[in-house]
Amino acid sequence: MNETTSMQQALLWKEVRQVRPLIVLLLAIGGLLILAWSGFFMQTRELASMLRFLPLMLPTMYAAGVSAVLVSQEKELRTLGWLTAIPVSPAQLILSKFAVALAGLVVMWACCFAAIFLIEASGLVDGISSPAIATADGYDAVYFPLHSAFILICGMLTAWLFRNAFVSLIAIVPLALLPFIVMALIRLVTRARERYVPTILETQITIAVTVLATGALAYLAYRLALKQLAPAEAPRVDEHALASLDAWRPPTPTSVPKTPFQFPLSSLIWQSLHHNRLALAGILAMIAIGVTSATLVPLSFSAALLPLIGLLGISWLGVFVFSGDGSQRGLRFLADRGAAPTILWWGRQAIGLSLVACGVLLFAALSWWTLNNRHRVQVDTPSIAFVGLFFLLIYSVSQWASQVVRLTTAAAIVAPLLSLMASGWLTFAGIELSAPLWLLMFCILLPLVSSWWSMPRWMDGDHGIQFYLWSLVGLVPFLFIPFLPFAIDVAQSPRMSTARQFALRAEANSIPRTDTDIWQLKREPEPPLNLEQDQELTGQAALALYQARSASASNAFNFAPLRSGPRYQVYAERNLLDSVLQCATYAELAWQHSPDDIAAKQALQCWISDLTLLAAGLRRSDRWIDQAAGDAVEIWLTRLLMNDSTRAKLDAAIVSSAVALVADQPGRSASRRRAVLLSWTRAHTREKWFHYLNFDASGWGGPMTGTKRYWTQSQTVSAVIDASLRLVDAGAQGQDTQPIRRELHQLIVGNQMDFVDGPFADRFRVGAGGTWAFSTDDLYRYPAMQWFAPWEIVAVRLAVQEKTP
């Protein structure tokens, strides 16, 4: 018993050691993929929801690859032969391999669920619904682990069945699709009989088929493994029968031509074509299925698997280039015979590149047919150029991976993941970093150049660190070149100079801290509606009630503390400011409608008085956004008081203090400068940005990618701060502000419209040409929009008129 336990422990130890690198490799690449995705591909909800799918890929990849590691690799390296020469029970050996493979799958699923949990907990996909975990086109969450176990069993079967790891991996693909194929056939039959199978029943049937197939294939794999580990049966050779057949059989033509190829390259291409014909045929079938389904089958969850098989085929075609013959011994044979690395490289690549081209041509032909038969097939296909570049990228990265990762099994697992990451990176570079197409094409070719560059060392069987360094020569530019134009663009984006920053920070620090309290503009709670009582009110009584409830300065807003003296700095949010100005305008209109109405006049005067206090409080605020609110209130007061007859009819003291406020140009400039400086120095965090500046900067600079905006926003803001302060200085000195407003237009609006049509244009300045209409929305969106506009000149003139008898 103890001996048996020790044997099992030894076998389990060995299998765990063999499978551990695969788990570590997959988790590392999966982690990188998830990190890269969460960093680069969260712009749209569709892409963001895919983040949940990524961890699910890892157990599936593991399930497909683990048998190749535990069985095919042992066959290729002949360690299985050595192992069976010691007295190991075949059943014990088979079961230990299966147990470790299954335990590894459980570990992978645990890691997968942990990753999904972390993704959910991180809040990256908050509010983004995804069918990945709950349901996926009717397949319950339980199906993913079940199908991965099925794939593992398929892998076990093919690994014991085939000698070559590559062939065994390819053979998994049709077996893995078996449950879906059965389900599709059932669906076809039932539809032919005009009967409907509910989705839930389809799910149950698929699960049942998978469970049955898992059991059946597991039994087959076990029997096959037992047979392989038992003494090999002697081939059945019936000499007499053979002799009879031979008599009728034409002489076997020799497959070797009498004359050799004229060029070494031809010989190498012949070798590449023949060294693993079964694997090559399988890869071709995968590509054909993928391309055909992508062009002819409408996309759905089930049908999406087929194009993925095609992409996997392209990736494995790349792996086939350097690992197709299962080992490097073939190349060493050629290297020992002095074959030139470049010719050998071309000999290896010629078949792969030709087949990629064939795949693209097939896609082109089928797309042409699809486009001409839209009434029969409605499939949206991408452009041929895109497909060609995508295929070439996957192939290029995969062949590089197969040169760097020497073990066929590991290369076949790693290459598709690396291709996926590379595709993601270049897509991100093309869309988000605005990398030009020619640069992306150059990057696609880089892995090919790298493998060519490393060819001499690879041929010599160089396993040292230098080989990997040479291989990385291609990887580093692949990662950094697409970033270069973006980096240059960001570096050239406008910003405040460092010297200016120092000077302004010093100025900001010298501003004395005020002890004024903060007063937040608020709407007073309205008296609760009593529907029964209100319904009984009619006429003037009802009107008075509603006016009292919503339009009165004293009732609607909490202005009372402002009346006690200038001890508050006022914070005003846009929607409340809008309400204030609307109520005041209502009071103005009510008085204009009834000039003799004393109550209306008093109400308006009350508004003027409170707005004067409000504007003064806003000017005391250290928030830039409140200066915009101050502008809005002062514009309203200036527009009202610029009319001589209006001023004459209103209380002189109230008018006088209002005019004194709006005419105080130096005070206004000082307030603006102070607020800009304080806001800039205090708005370090996102929360403080909203508190102090609160301008919607998400559109500043015009249309640009989210990534560029992320990298340039703080620079743009600093440039806007700089321009605004220069605008204050220029306006205070009576200089023309248009050049600086043009600068602000460029920084904030960008090239999406001309200056004359933009918010800083002369024709949209309040007071210009008698236009006094303005929008608080614009004031809150475009900083310094109405600074030193004609309304300020009108305001200053009002003071002069006040002093003139």
Partner: protein
């Protein structure tokens, strides 16, 4: 005492190839048995059948009184086997591979393995992939010998070993045989085999051409050079006790390699009409091997002397 290996009528047919054609052999315990044969003679096929990796097309085989086709596991417990290029797990260290294999054998395996590794001066913590070919061969030998097997089957055992270790190893094989264990080795190194083997078998095209104790073999095989007056002279048939291994004609010189040759046969040949002289020479194992596999010696000193061929 029962033979350690018994094979009778052993045949192995592959498509288009007859690897073994009726092998009959018995190997007694306590002997060093050497199997010689050129490439493709069927040596590896025979070893695969003996170790339970392959079932023969026909015939019976027993190893340590067990049928390897039916009880391969039991056979492998009792034998030690080293192939010509053992593919061990190269990610394991020298110590790890011994620890890994130990549970499959009786107690004491690990201690003996460690002793052996120490004797070969192999570092415990070195990974196998960092060992030279010779060092790997030492590890493989240590693993095969650590359970003190009744029968040790070795395929090209000294390949890759340096001369000192080779000598030491071969001497240890003699010691094993002296202690009652049996060694079955397949080799191309005829000089080494000659030094250690008790029994020699020469396999050619799937057939055992010779199977005899080394001492008897050397004494029993004689090269006979017969000078003739006319190349067309027909020699008399030798008695049934003699086995003609080879007969070649070089002009008026005829060379025979005969097993079981005696003085009566000399007289018979010398007295035959047309025979001018008869000379005999005993042969080395290498010459016997060449005769058995190539059908004759092309550079025999007799022929050179007679001017039949260039030196």
């Amino acid at each position: 005492m029962n033979p350690v290996i018994t094979a009778s009528g052993l045949t192995m047919h592959y498509r288009g190839c007859q690897a073994l054609r009726g092998i009959d052999l018995q190997i007694a315990p306590g002997t060093v048995f050497a199997l010689l044969g050129e490439n493709g003679a069927g040596k590896t096929t025979l070893i695969r059948i003996l170790t339970g990796f392959q079932k023969p097309t026909s015939g019976q085989v027993r190893v340590c009184e067990l049928d390897p086709t039916q009880q391969p596991l039991a056979v492998r417990r009792r034998i030690g086997y080293v192939s010509d290029a053992p593919a061990m797990y190269d990610w394991m260290t020298v110590a790890e591979i011994g620890w890994f294999v130990a549970p499959f054998y009786p107690a004491g395996f690990l201690d003996r393995y460690r002793e052996s590794v120490l004797r070969y001066e192999l570092a415990d913590d070195r990974k196998l992939k960092h060992l030279s070919k010779g060092q790997r061969a030492k590890v493989a030998l240590s693993l095969a010998l650590a359970h003190d097997p009744e029968l040790l089957i070795l395929d090209e055992p000294t390949s890759g070993l340096d001369p000192m270790v080779r000598r030491e190893f071969l001497e240890s094989m003699i010691d094993r045989a002296a202690s009652g264990r049996t060694v079955f080795l397949s080799s191309h190194q005829i000089s080494e085999v000659e030094r250690v083997a008790d029994t020699i078998a020469i396999l050619h095209h799937g057939k055992l051409r010779l199977l005899a104790p080394l001492v008897d073999l050397k004494d029993s095989v004689t090269e006979v050079s017969v000078s003739l007056e006319d190349p067309l002279v027909a020699l008399p048939l030798l008695p049934g006790s003699a086995e003609m291994l080879s007969e070649q004609t070089y002009g008026r010189l005829r060379r025979l390699v005969v097993r079981g040759y005696d003085s009566e046969m000399h007289d018979l040949l010398a007295a035959h009409q047309g025979v001018t002289s008869v000379r005999e020479r005993s042969m080395s194992l290498e010459e016997i091997f060449i005769v058995c596999t190539k059908g004759g010696l092309t550079n025999s000193p007799e022929l050179v002397e007679a001017g039949a061929i260039d030196e």
